[in-house]
């Protein structure tokens, strides 16, 4: 392990750089451009107990400083992922974080049960926050007692470390993070996309509602990481609008143990390799022995 190594949830990763769930396909798609095993870990596309077809088009729309998506969590299902895609990560010995979701509490639980315990699985990342799925008006991520209960329900059926991925669309994210922690979460991913909409003046319509991502989200995410770092004693993975190494450093200094890069990959598919190389040079130029030396350094 080199100077970029980070310890998280009982594992040592070679660097703190990961993809955000759903922004790097099933992992194999990026291979023509760069080797995925340069990442600290791969975060899976959001998986559900059963395959899910997702939403109709349009699913993506550009904004000035980001984009809005409404993919609707299309995925092959958790069993298919482990039979067809997981061997690729085993062959590469690349640690993964398994992002998963359900439409009901029972579905979260039964999906988590189907995820095996394996040396390469760093954690399960519970999507408590997708703006594009809501059934029966339930939104799992916005109410502290609901978060506590659903995290507890999943905690009871798996021995794999559990990360709660939270939505920024709440009154007080520290309170939600505390509920997740007390429910049994071992870590937090902060933050998911922000609910948003598009109006098309040419068609005089609203073609798309969905999750806003990209650089527009970064300051909101940084604040969430900064505040939760002070209050909640579990590791944080920072996500939201990271476009380059400077952004990545900001999250690490705010207290993130690792970071996830999403939308930036669509703008420049080499963003992640560039951030990894950039972190290495930055540490050298600034005489830090490793990433832990700067984690949360902004708190003084």
């Amino acid at each position: 392990m080199g100077p970029l190594a980070v310890d998280i949830l009982g594992k040592t990763l070679k660097n703190p750089v990961m993809n955000a769930s759903g922004t790097l396909g099933y992992g194999i798609e990026i291979e023509p451009l760069w080797n995925i095993d340069i990442l600290g870990a791969y975060v899976t596309k959001g998986l559900s107990e059963k395959p899910h077809h997702g939403n109709k088009t349009p699913r993506v729309w550009e904004e000035r400083c980001g984009m809005i998506n409404s993919i609707g969590l299309q995925n092959v299902g958790v069993e298919y992922f482990f039979s067809h895609y997981f061997p690729f990560f085993e062959e590469k010995k690349l640690p993964i974080i398994v992002n998963f979701f359900g439409f009901t509490e029972d579905e979260y639980v039964s999906c988590a049960r189907k995820i095996p315990s394996h040396d390469l699985i760093v954690a399960l990342e519970m999507n408590l926050s997708c703006p594009n799925i809501k059934k029966g008006g339930i939104s799992f991520g916005k109410d502290a007692p609901a978060v506590h209960n659903i995290v507890r329900a999943v905690r009871d059926v798996t021995s794999v470390p559990l990360i709660a991925k939270l939505t920024p669309e709440v009154k007080n994210i520290v309170e939600i993070a505390r509920a997740a922690h007390e429910g049994g979460a071992d870590g937090l991913t902060l933050i998911n996309t922000m609910p948003a909409a598009i109006i098309d003046t040419r068609t005089r319509s609203m073609p798309l509602k969905g999750g806003l991502s990209g650089p527009v989200l970064k300051p909101i995410a940084l604040r969430a990481v900064y505040e939760c770092y002070r209050e909640i004693p579990i590791p944080i993975i920072g996500a939201g609008g990271i476009m380059d190494v400077e952004d990545a450093l900001e999250f690490l200094m705010a207290g993130a143990r690792a970071i996830e890069i999403g939308t930036a990959t669509f703008v420049d598919p080499f963003t992640m390799p560039k951030v990894i190389a950039g972190l290495n040079s930055w540490l050298k130029e600034n005489n830090y022995a490793g990433i832990p030396a700067i984690t949360g350094i902004a708190h003084g």
Binding site: G54, P58, E62, M67, F266, V267, D268
Partner: protein
């Protein structure tokens, strides 16, 4: 496949609203199948995501696309000057598969021509192009197409057949039918649907290149999808499993 810096060497309006853009790349684009596309970083900070364009031509270290100005991205691109730097990611997606022998009928509607131009060049004398355009003012789009039979339909009747391109095909299809032709098509959704209705009785082999809003172009985000008849996995990625699909696999 690679992501390469390039410099714009041509960005001329062929007719108002239709441009041809050529980029000189650092390295050759590599092997391109007709129907594949590139994701272009528009040299304007106001345009956040890349834009997909069918490859119109690729040789040595240059790549050419033809586009119609339809929104913010193409509008900004139309104002890019010569020597402006761009990033070009490609070649992407699955292109047309060309049968080893036999007649090929290529149906293009409007700017859909840009999606089949490289195919026409590859097919040469084996191909006949059925082109649907608004009027004769759009004929200059074809100015550099040589050695291919072209049958034109204009909506205003100012050149060739008066009507839409699928009506023209219906009128001229009889002599081709016996030769077991392959059809290739690129154009607006309405054109593809009426083409499908016409070809349905005989299920004539037909490949269509379709368009969708994209974010990544690499199959990473599942933002661009086409609905197919595959029951277990109906939503296919236009950028990865397409943009060329078998017409008979699509749910239109």
């Amino acid at each position: 496949m690679d992501d390469m810096p390039g410099i714009i060497t041509e960005n001329s309006a062929l007719i108002p609203g239709y441009h041809r853009l050529t980029v000189r790349l650092e390295r050759p684009l590599g092997k391109v199948s007709p129907g594949q596309f590139v994701m272009l970083k528009v040299p304007d900070p106001e345009v956040f995501l890349r834009r997909p364009f069918s490859i119109y031509d690729a040789r040595d270290r240059t790549v050419t696309v033809m586009y119609r100005v339809v929104g913010k991205g193409t509008d900004a691109l139309s104002r890019a000057r010569k020597k402006a730097p761009v990033m070009v990611l490609g070649p992407l997606g699955r292109g047309f598969s060309i049968p080893p022998a036999g007649a090929c009928l290529v149906i293009a509607g409007g700017i859909g021509y840009a999606g089949v131009r490289m195919l026409l060049k590859r097919l040469g004398k084996r191909a006949a192009l059925f082109l649907g355009i608004t009027g004769k003012t759009e004929l200059p789009l074809l100015s550099d197409l040589k050695g291919v039979e072209v049958l034109t339909a204009t909506l205003d009747g100012s050149h060739g057949y008066h009507g839409n391109v699928v009506s023209l095909l219906k009128e001229r299809f009889a002599p081709h039918r016996s030769q077991g032709p392959t059809i290739f098509a690129c154009g607006p959704k309405g054109m593809i649907i009426s083409l499908k209705e016409f070809l349905e009785p005989d299920k004539v082999p037909c490949q269509v290149s379709i368009e969708e809003r994209m974010a990544c172009g690499l199959g990473l985000c599942f933002g661009c999808i086409a609905e197919t008849k595959d029951d277990t996995n109906p939503f296919k990625r236009v950028c990865k499993e397409g943009p060329v699909f078998d017409l008979w696999d699509l749910s239109l």
